[in-house]
């Protein structure tokens, strides 16, 4: 560290004390080369991120249709309609509800799974593999699996209920249980990723701390509460942020498990954006809703940044 600072200082001093400046041509050449290296990224960035964002904003102020018709400037009409659209708010509410329902088990179960594996139960590779494997499956595959499991007549879920003497449920079709069904499937599908992050974080904790603790007479629980959990703080913040963002993007598994049929209790905001654009052909309106959703994510991001800043200040 010191060396690097020193050498920087040397260069700066050197230039001040009359070291001959490099030729302008060489500097230009260097700049050209750096731009050439940057160019592929810049092209991709402008084409696939910057322009779509700008184009989306422009679209949201028009009545552009997917069919090529329309396109007239309508001012804030789409935004006004979106803010007064009960279905948009319902979809937004469903998305937030799903995020709340799924994030807690996805963090807690991942933590428990990682703790079990980290404590050295036999056959670690098998646990690691089986916990992470579902995450590798495509959403279409997991949707199909869980549609079978939740089938009201022949599905395993109702077999289990019947085994315990409970009434069978129309899991995916009943508005009272369909969101829960999607949460269960999603937890099974994606918990492996959080598990892996937690496991990596746990394995970074120096074993000496545990040794010292056990010499001091701390049992497994005390070690977990006093050593493991506190040191997982940064990992937990990261997992929470990633998880909230992932859950807010709910679409594929819900759409596929319900056969693309809109349900008032499971329609996520992303599905509503899709329906407005690709089923009802209202591109302008669809763009407007996506920017309302974007605004919600920005607000969440700001809140999260404020919270983490406060946490850092506390430490």
């Amino acid at each position: 560290m010191t060396t690097a600072t020193d050498s920087t200082r040397t260069i700066v001093t050197g230039s001040k004390t009359g070291t001959p400046p490099r030729r302008a041509g060489a500097r230009n050449r260097e700049q050209l080369i750096s731009w050439a290296f940057l160019a592929p990224f810049l092209v991709a960035f402008v084409l696939f991120l910057a322009w779509p964002i700008v184009h989306g904003i422009i679209l949201s102020f028009t009545d552009q249709s997917l069919t090529g018709a329309g396109g007239a400037f309508v001012g804030f009409a789409n935004y006004v309609e979106a803010l007064g659209d009960p279905k948009m708010w319902q979809s937004m509410g469903n998305t937030v509800w799903f995020t709340l329902l799924s994030t807690v088990p996805l963090v807690v179960i991942a933590l428990v799974m990682a703790a079990l594996v980290d404590r050295g139960i036999p056959g670690q590779w098998l646990w690691r593999l089986s916990f992470f494997m579902p995450f590798l499956l495509a959403s279409t595959v997991i949707s199909q699996i869980w549609v079978w499991i939740f089938n009201p007549q022949v599905g395993a879920a109702n077999n289990i209920l019947e085994f315990f003497g409970l009434e069978p449920l129309a899991w995916l079709q009943n508005p009272d249980t369909n969101m829960l069904s999607i949460v269960i499937a999603t937890v099974w599908w994606t918990v492996g990723f959080n598990f892996l992050l937690y496991l990596a974080a746990m394995q970074n904790i120096p074993p000496q701390q545990y040794e010292a603790a056990s010499l001091d007479g701390a049992g497994a629980w005390r070690q977990f509460w006093s050593i493991t959990l506190p040191q997982l703080g940064p990992a937990t913040v990261l997992i929470l942020i990633l998880q909230i963002l992932a859950s807010l993007k709910l679409f594929d598994q819900a759409y596929q498990m319900l056969g693309g049929v809109a349900s008032d209790t499971t329609r996520s905001i992303v599905q509503y954006i899709y329906e407005a654009g690709f089923v009802s052909y209202r591109f302008g309106y669809s763009a407007a809703i996506s920017y309302v959703f974007f605004a919600l994510i920005v607000i969440l991001g700001v809140v999260q940044a404020l919270i983490t800043r406060r946490r850092k200040e506390q430490f």
Binding site: L66, A69, N151, A170, F278, S280, R282
Partner: protein
């Protein structure tokens, strides 16, 4: 002796790229098959499974019977994906020469210029006119004054019944047909008789999570009262609430757990009937092949007229001309020829269960021998399509909106009147929106 090729690496790569590019462009180019006068016509459709196999056979027949054109079909997944892609192709003006659409969807598309008109005179010169179609099916081809679709078939909602179970229940006539019932009470009595003989339920009807299934039965019962739901642009919807409540209440009565399973989805209802466990099944004619493959003793008939007027929900697979900016007149003529050939050869389509729209086919003696298709052929005269609006039709959101509004009635016994109010409110919201394919409302002006 051929001299050895003396090419540098760069020359070789250049030559190879040019050759590949040329081949690629030639492959993309529509039009004539090289070395012959045969034109290749692009045809998009959404028929898969058994229907897809039958369609392939029909296309092979049409291709083999002449050398002026060859049809190159593209099959896309049915529903939103199909309609999105077809709409975008039409919007770009470089659409396929001809495509299949549900007749009910053309109303939303024609005003946006996504479809080109059929020339009625040219069709007539090929033997296709109003006299060769059942009236409601021919009329469904029109949007305003123009003809935008021409039906290959009608695929109504029908009732299949297990002949062994129904025979044992004593509800068959001497000629093996189901005894007629003309009121909900009579029909319920008949079902209870059948239920006594069935291992499972009297009736299989799957509806869970499937707005289309709920809508098909509801609108059949609704239309049997002699009126239709009307959806005038701008709204409000004209729905006879008493009729709607009565229709929905009957559906709830059927799903009492005794007559039909209270919680069944489409697949399990089809499976229950196909395995011989139930006496009757409400389904579309497209399931005919499933039951034939199950070697089931069964027959099919129109859903009984319980409220006075024979009516049955249906849609039609129809030929449309997706908009082409520079339509080639030669290829257009051949497209007309293709459609005429398909209609005239649609007997094969009847084997898949659909009722061909072309009357000379359904009125032929051969068709009478096609059992059970001939037993429900009269449904074509009583078909009722979705109410006309830009947002209705098969594969649209309208039917799932209906399902979302009324499923609670069928599943949990919610109040039917409140469900109809919810549905009406949703429809009125949609009616207030302009057709997104024609937001400025310039169609017809």
């Amino acid at each position: 002796m051929t001299p050895p090729l003396d090419l540098s690496r760069r020359q070789f790569l250049t030559a190879a790229s040019v050759a590949a590019g040329t081949a690629l462009l030639a492959g993309c180019a529509p039009g004539a098959v090289p070395g012959s006068g045969t034109q290749t016509l692009q045809f998009w459709h959404l028929l898969s499974g058994g229907d897809g196999v039958t369609m392939s056979q029909l296309l092979d027949d049409v291709n083999g019977a002449q050398s002026a054109f060859r049809i190159r079909p593209t099959v896309l997944a049915w529903g939103t994906p199909y309609y999105t892609k077809l709409a975008m192709a039409g919007a770009g003006g470089r659409a396929p020469d001809v495509a299949i659409m549900h007749a009910t969807r053309t109303v939303g598309w024609a005003p946006g210029g996504l479809l080109d008109r059929w020339d009625v005179d040219k069709l007539a010169s090929l033997g296709i006119d109003s006299s060769t179609f059942p009236k409601p099916i021919w009329e469904k081809g029109f949007v305003g004054e123009g003809m935008y679709s021409i039906a290959l078939d009608a695929h109504p909602f029908v009732m299949m019944f297990n002949t062994d179970i129904c025979d044992a229940a004593g509800v068959l006539d001497s000629d093996g047909k189901l005894q007629e019932t003309s009121s909900p009470e009579e029909f319920l009595d008949q079902l209870r008789e059948v239920g006594g003989q069935a291992e499972g339920h009297a009736l299989s009807y799957g509806y869970l999570g499937d707005g289309a299934q709920m809508w098909r039965l509801f609108y059949t019962f609704y239309s049997q009262h002699g009126g239709a739901i009307e959806l005038p642009p701008g709204g409000p919807a004209v729905i006879d609430k008493d009729v709607a409540v009565e229709s929905l209440s009957l559906m709830r009565t059927l799903l009492d757990g005794e007559i039909a399973l209270a919680q069944a989805d489409y697949g399990s209802a089809v499976a229950e009937f196909a395995t011989g466990k139930s006496g009757m099944l409400f389904t579309g004619v497209w399931e005919l092949r499933t039951m034939q493959a199950a070697s089931l003793p069964f027959d099919a008939t129109m859903i009984p007229t319980l409220f006075g007027t024979p009516a049955v929900y249906a849609d039609s697979h129809s030929f449309v001309l997706p908009h082409q900016t520079n339509a080639d007149p030669v290829r257009r003529d051949l497209t007309y020829q293709f459609v005429a050939d398909m209609l005239k050869g649609s007997f094969g389509w009847a084997e898949a269960g659909h009722i061909p729209a072309f009357l000379p086919v359904t009125e032929s003696p051969d068709y009478d021998d096609l059992i059970p298709q001939a037993h429900y052929a009269e449904a074509a005269q009583h078909v009722v399509y979705d109410p006309t609006a830009w947002f209705t039709g098969s594969g649209s959101n309208f039917q799932s909106e209906f399902g979302a509004a009324v499923q609670g009635v069928l599943l949990s016994g919610d109040d039917p009147a409140a469900a109809i109010d919810r549905f009406e409110a949703r429809v009125n919201t949609l009616l207030r929106q302009p057709n997104p394919a024609d937001p400025e409302g310039t169609f017809g002006s």
